[in-house]
């Protein structure tokens, strides 16, 4: 049930992507066929940067927002519930607080990984059923179709190597969600889970608003990556920043949890 939203999202987006690609094909009259990677790119594309001075209405990319939001919801309240009832017994028996906290961080990252894997598998299965090519090569013509709505700063040429596909399209969004999710986990030491969730969603909305490396959500939007957009955010920087956040929060959280009163008053 926890990963069902990823499956539902994957199916809905694949259906929409098929219609989108069909429309693009009718206009461009292309011979070669898309691959599952283009469907994956469509699911994680996000939205073009918002032009702040333009007074255009600030609209959230709903598909990307739903996917990230449901993913963050899957880990909501985990730390809080782990400090109640049976979880308290596990905490006492784990003897080392650092081990307990780090195990929660690892669980969190695994949760994000499985959430994305559920999406990837859904897209793969959809493409297998629809008879779509399962190669890992990103055809530049189809990349243009997938990002057609936001073509104003798209690069004219794209690298299509396997490394780019795996790291930029598949790995970077996972690492990004791990970073935001671990911030949410850390804040659960101080605030109620719903407030922590609100902070996570605020980070996402701020990322739509401002295309900066500090707004972590930007790294999960493929259209803002330097692979497709001129002046976009670099993949390497994204991985370093997100992993840095994960490691930093894990270390700070370890220190904080060592001095944390686990017998805090019940609600």
């Amino acid at each position: 049930m926890r990963y069902l939203p990823a499956v539902v999202f994957g199916i809905l987006m694949c259906i929409q992507c098929s219609a989108f690609i069909d429309n693009g094909l009718q206009e461009l009259k292309m011979q070669d066929s898309p691959s599952w990677i283009h469907y994956l790119m469509y699911c994680v594309k996000g939205a073009a940067p918002y032009e702040k001075g333009s007074k255009e209405q600030f609209i959230i990319p709903i598909a990307w927002m739903c996917f990230m939001m449901w993913g963050l919801m899957s880990g909501l309240g985990y730390l809080y519930s782990s400090r109640q009832a049976v979880g308290m017994q596990v905490l006492i028996r784990s003897e080392k607080r650092a081990a307990w906290w780090l195990s929660k961080c690892i669980w969190n990252c695994l949760n994000c990984l499985i959430y994305f894997v559920a999406l990837y598998v859904t897209i793969l299965v959809y493409c297998m059923i629809a008879g779509i090519n399962l190669s890992m090569e990103a055809n530049p013509n189809y990349v243009l179709i997938v990002f057609a709505e936001s073509s104003f700063r798209l690069k004219e040429q794209f690298e299509t190597g396997l490394g780019i596909v795996v790291v930029t399209i598949m790995l970077l969004p996972i690492v990004c969600m791990c970073a935001i999710s671990i911030i949410q986990l850390f804040l659960e030491l101080f605030f109620k889970p719903v407030i922590c969730y609100l902070v996570s969603i605020t980070i996402l909305i701020f990322s739509v608003w401002d295309m900066s490396p500090f707004a972590l959500g930007n790294f999960s939007m493929l259209i803002r990556n330097s692979w497709v957009m001129q002046g976009g955010l670099d993949t390497t920087m994204g991985i370093i920043v997100c992993l840095g956040v994960v490691i930093l929060i894990s270390i700070v959280g370890t220190y904080r949890f060592k001095h944390y009163d686990i017998l805090s008053k019940e609600e």
């Binding site: 209405q57 959230i60 739903c66 919801m73 309240g77 407030i195 609100l198 909305i205 701020f206 608003w209």
Partner: protein
């Protein structure tokens, strides 16, 4: 009934989470205000700088506005969302049920939830109106202004260009109703879902999910620019047409569905 409502209202309004939700709402309002303040300080404003184009309920382009209206479903669930759930879980609700009429207890809960949800939304909007009035003139908007996003056929569009203050007050009332509806949705979710924080985040997820489905569905060619997503209808100056009958109709429909489900479910509530 009055006594039960008084007790419930006291519980919700004297609640730390209500204060937290208000503070968060006010932070978003503050962000919006600061954006406008910076613009006016830098440029001195322009011909279409008015309270009725800069107010958070209609401007649509600031970060504060985006945060406030997109997070509204979550914000309204914070004050009261977990209170009912924790009362049911801890058995505290049973103490109340022993001492008062069962129907009155649950009705009071529903009314209190509606009030707190609405208040959580309305108070920041009113404060935004007052704060923007400190830096912007109260010029009546004109259809020729670039800054206005309200077109013919939109909610109370005639009122906006003739009596904008009345329009703003009605918009605050509509958002109060939306806040109440969402808070009651959270209340109902708490009756079905055993995980407290998932129940609180459920209305937020559902509204976004409905918006996603509506975005995906292919619209017919001559489809009018009618806004059907509840998430976008919460924002009175939406991008697509949102006539008054649609806005009020959707609110009434939700109230009917939510109250029906709620009173059907609580009738079957077994405290043992």
């Amino acid at each position: 009934m009055k006594k039960e409502i008084k007790v419930e209202l006291h519980k919700v309004f004297c609640n730390r989470m209500f204060v937290a939700a208000l503070v968060i709402g006010l932070v978003f309002v503050g962000l919006d205000w600061f954006d406008h303040y910076q613009f006016i300080k830098a440029s001195g404003g322009n011909g279409d700088t008015s309270l009725y184009t800069k107010w958070i309920g209609v401007n649509g382009y600031t970060l504060g506005c985006g945060l406030f209206f997109n997070l509204m479903p979550l914000l309204t669930c914070i004050p009261f969302g977990s209170s009912f759930f924790s009362e049911l879980e801890s058995g505290q609700a049973d103490h109340f049920l022993c001492r008062t009429n069962r129907a009155r207890f649950f009705e009071a809960k529903f009314i209190a939830s509606f009030m707190i949800g609405g208040t959580t939304v309305a108070v920041p909007l009113i404060i935004s109106l007052a704060a923007i009035a400190l830096i912007c003139p109260t010029l009546t908007p004109s259809v020729t202004w670039f800054a206005v996003t309200i077109e013919h056929g939109f909610f109370a569009s005639v009122l906006y260009y003739t009596h904008p203050l009345v329009y703003v007050l009605i918009a605050i009332l509509i958002d109060f109703l939306w806040g109440g509806v969402i808070a009651c949705f959270c209340l109902v979710a708490g009756l079905f879902i055993r995980k407290r924080y998932v129940a609180m985040a459920l209305p937020f997820g559902v509204y976004f999910g409905i918006d996603l489905i509506i975005t995906i569905l292919k619209k017919p060619k001559n489809y009018p620019r009618l806004e059907v997503s509840p998430l976008r209808l919460m924002y009175i100056a939406s991008d697509n047409m949102n006539p008054a009958w649609l806005v009020i109709g959707v609110i009434v429909l939700q109230i009917v569905i939510i109250s029906t489900v709620y009173f059907w479910k609580v009738r079957r509530y077994e405290s043992i």
